[in-house]
C-alpha cells in the first residue's frame, strides 16, 4: 500500500522510535521505507503489487530489510502453536455428566416424536380453522353479542311470574267485585299464555321520529289484561301502539290508544270511551297494569274507584333506582296488589337492560280471542321516553279523539 499522494518520504514519529537506517548514513532519506508501510505490510493490508514494490524498495534500505526479516521470523515462531493435550475425552465426560448423549436410534425417535407433535399441532390448528370457517357459531367461545336475547328471557320469566301473580289476584277479584258487577262481567279464572317477540325494527313502532308515535310507544310499557274479564275487547294493543290517536281512522282504536297513553283516564273519559260493542274496554272490569321505564304508572282501568288514585299516587317512584320505595308503595296499596309484593314481581328486572335495547315486546298472538289472556310489554330507550315526556308536558291533544264517538 503506497502512502497517499505517492510521497514515500519517511516521516519521523517520536512515538515509534528511531528509524533503523538512522545509524546508517549510506541510506538516503528518499530510500527509507516509512513505518506506516511496514505496519501495513504486517497487518496484511498490502496487495501483491504493493508488496512487490515494497520489496523492491527494501534493496535500498538494508536496515529496514533486516528489521522486517527478523520480525517475520519472530512472527513465524509465534504462529507455531504449542503442543496441546487432547482434552476430548475429559470434556465429553463432563458434558455427559450434565447432559446425556443419545444414540442414533434414540435421536431418530426424538426427532420423529418432535415432528409428530408439530404435525399434530398444525393439524389441530388446521381443523380448528376449518371448523371455525364452517361452523363459526359452534366454535366461538365468547358470548354472542345478543343483548336482546337475555333480556327477552329475563323479561318473559318476569312477566310470566307477574302475570301469574296477577292471575291469582284476579282469581280473587270476582269475590270482591261480585256484588258490584253483573253476571255479564263475571270474571273467570285467568290462564296466562305468553310468548316473547323482539320487535325487529323501528318500523313496527311506526315513525319514531314523530313525537306522537314515540308518545304512544313509550306510554305503554307494561300492560297486562285479562281478556277473560274483557271478553269483548279483542283489541290488539300492538295495533294501538303503532298508531297515534290523531292518525287512526277508527275512533275506537283511537280511544283505546288514548286510554293506553293516559294509563288511567278519568271517569269522564272512561264514560266517553264506552262503546256499544266494546263497552268493556277501559270500563270498570279490566284490571290492567302498565308502567314506563323512567316513571312507571299503573292503569287499573277496570277499577274506576281505584284507578285515578293508583295512577296519581302509586307509582311515582323509579323502580330501577328506588326499588325499596317502589315496594313500599306497593305494600300500601289495595289487597289485590298484594301479590305484586311477592319476590316474583321485580320491576327492576323488567326494566333492566334498557340501554342498547330499543324495543322489546311481549305479547300474545295478534288476534286475541275472548277468554285468552295476554301480556303486552313494551320497552323503549330512555331517549324515547324523554321525547314522550317533552311531548306530553304542554297540553293534551286539543281535540280528543273520543269526542267523535257517538
Amino acid at each position: 500500500m503506497d502512502r497517499p499522494g505517492g510521497d514515500n518520504t519517511p516521516r519521523p514519529d517520536p512515538r515509534r522510535g528511531p528509524h533503523p537506517a538512522d545509524a546508517d548514513p549510506r541510506v538516503p532519506d528518499a530510500a527509507r521505507i516509512p513505518d506506516d508501510l511496514v505496519d501495513a505490510f504486517f497487518d496484511r493490508e498490502l496487495d501483491r503489487e504493493a508488496q512487490r514494490r515494497m520489496f523492491d524498495r527494501l534493496r535500498g534500505d538494508p536496515p529496514r530489510c533486516e528489521e522486517i526479516t527478523s520480525t517475520r521470523e519472530m512472527l513465524r515462531e509465534l504462529r507455531r502453536k504449542p503442543d496441546a493435550p487432547d482434552l476430548t475425552g475429559a470434556i465429553l465426560a463432563r458434558v455427559e455428566s450434565r447432559r446425556a448423549f443419545l444414540t442414533p436410534t434414540w435421536r431418530k425417535l426424538v426427532t420423529t416424536g418432535r415432528l409428530a407433535v408439530a404435525a399434530g399441532v398444525l393439524l389441530g390448528i388446521g381443523l380448528a380453522a376449518t371448523a371455525q370457517r364452517l361452523w363459526p357459531e359452534a366454535t366461538t367461545f365468547r358470548d354472542q353479542p345478543a343483548p336482546l336475547t337475555g333480556f327477552v328471557d329475563s323479561t318473559r320469566a318476569d312477566a310470566s311470574s307477574s302475570f301469574r301473580a296477577l292471575e291469582r289476584t284476579l282469581g280473587a277479584a270476582p269475590r270482591q267485585i261480585a256484588g258490584r258487577l253483573g253476571d255479564e262481567f263475571a270474571p273467570v279464572p285467568l290462564v296466562a299464555s305468553t310468548h316473547a317477540e323482539a320487535v325487529p325494527s323501528d318500523r313496527v313502532l311506526g315513525d319514531r321520529a314523530r313525537p306522537d308515535a314515540i308518545d304512544m310507544a313509550a306510554a305503554t310499557r307494561y300492560f297486562a289484561c285479562s281478556s277473560s274479564l274483557w271478553p269483548s275487547a279483542a283489541c290488539d294493543f300492538r295495533t294501538i301502539e303503532r298508531h297515534t290517536p290523531t292518525h287512526q281512522p277508527d275512533p275506537a282504536i283511537n280511544a283505546r290508544a288514548a286510554a293506553a297513553r293516559w294509563g288511567a283516564p278519568a271517569e269522564r273519559d272512561l264514560l266517553r270511551l264506552r262503546m256499544p260493542d266494546r263497552s268493556r274496554l277501559l270500563h270498570g272490569h279490566e284490571p290492567g297494569m302498565s308502567g314506563s321505564g323512567d316513571r312507571p304508572f299503573a292503569a287499573f282501568a277496570g277499577w274506576p274507584d281505584r284507578a285515578p288514585r293508583l295512577d296519581a299516587e302509586l307509582f311515582h317512584t323509579d323502580p330501577p333506582h328506588e326499588p325499596d320505595a317502589f315496594r313500599a308503595q306497593l305494600a300500601d296499596r289495595s289487597a289485590w296488589l298484594a301479590e305484586a309484593r311477592s319476590a316474583t314481581f321485580e320491576p327492576r328486572a323488567i326494566l333492566r337492560g334498557s340501554t342498547g335495547v330499543r324495543v322489546l315486546e311481549l305479547h300474545v298472538p295478534e288476534h286475541v280471542t275472548p277468554g285468552q289472556p295476554r301480556i303486552v310489554t313494551r320497552w323503549t330507550p330512555a331517549a324515547a321516553v324523554g321525547a314522550r315526556a317533552a311531548h306530553d308536558r304542554p297540553t293534551p291533544p286539543p281535540s280528543h279523539p273520543a269526542d267523535d264517538l257517538p
Partner: protein, 196 residues
Amino acid sequence: MSMTRAEERKLIRLAAAGDKDAAAAFIKCHQNSLYAYLLRMSGRPDMAEDVVQEAFVRVLTNLDRFDPKYRFSTWLFTIARRLYVNACQKHKPAYDSDMIGNWRGDWDLPSKATHDHETATNARSAIDVTLAKLSPEQREVIVLFHQLDWPIAVIAQHLGMPEGTVKSHLHRGRRKMKALFESDRKLSEQVAEVWR
C-alpha cells in the same frame, strides 16, 4: 482442522440433538487453537487446560442458545475469554521461567536434545518470555491476529474496542515484542558463545 459454515451448522445441529461424535468433532477442531490462545494469554498450562475444558462444557451444554449468524469459534473464544478473566481474578497468573519451561515436558529429555529442537525450543521460549512482557491488551491482540489469524474487525468485536485501538495495540505490541525478542536472541547467542 477447519470446517466450512455449512459443516459447522450441521455439526451444531447434530451435537445439539445429542450426537456424541459431532461434539467430539467440535472439540478436536477447536481445542488446539483455544488451548494455544489461553496458554499464550495466561502462560500457565494448568489454567489453559481448565479454561478449555470449562469453555467446551458450557458451549456443548448450551448449544441451543447459539446464534448461527456468528461463527462458532467466535462464540467459543468469547466464553473462554470470560472464563479466563474470571480465573485471573481468582488466581493471578504467574509468569516464571520454571513454569514456562515445564509445560513443554520434553524440555529436559536428553534423548531429544538435538540442535534443531533446542533452537526451536529456545525460540518458542523467547516468544513466551516476550509475550509475557507485553500488556494484556497487546498480548491478546497479537495472539489473535498473528497466531489465530483473526481479522482486525473480528478482534475489535471480540474485545469490544474500536478497530483503530486494536491496530494501535497491534503495532506497538509488535514493535515492543520484536525489540524484546531481538535482545533475548542476542543474549542467547552470547551465552552460546561463552559455552562454546
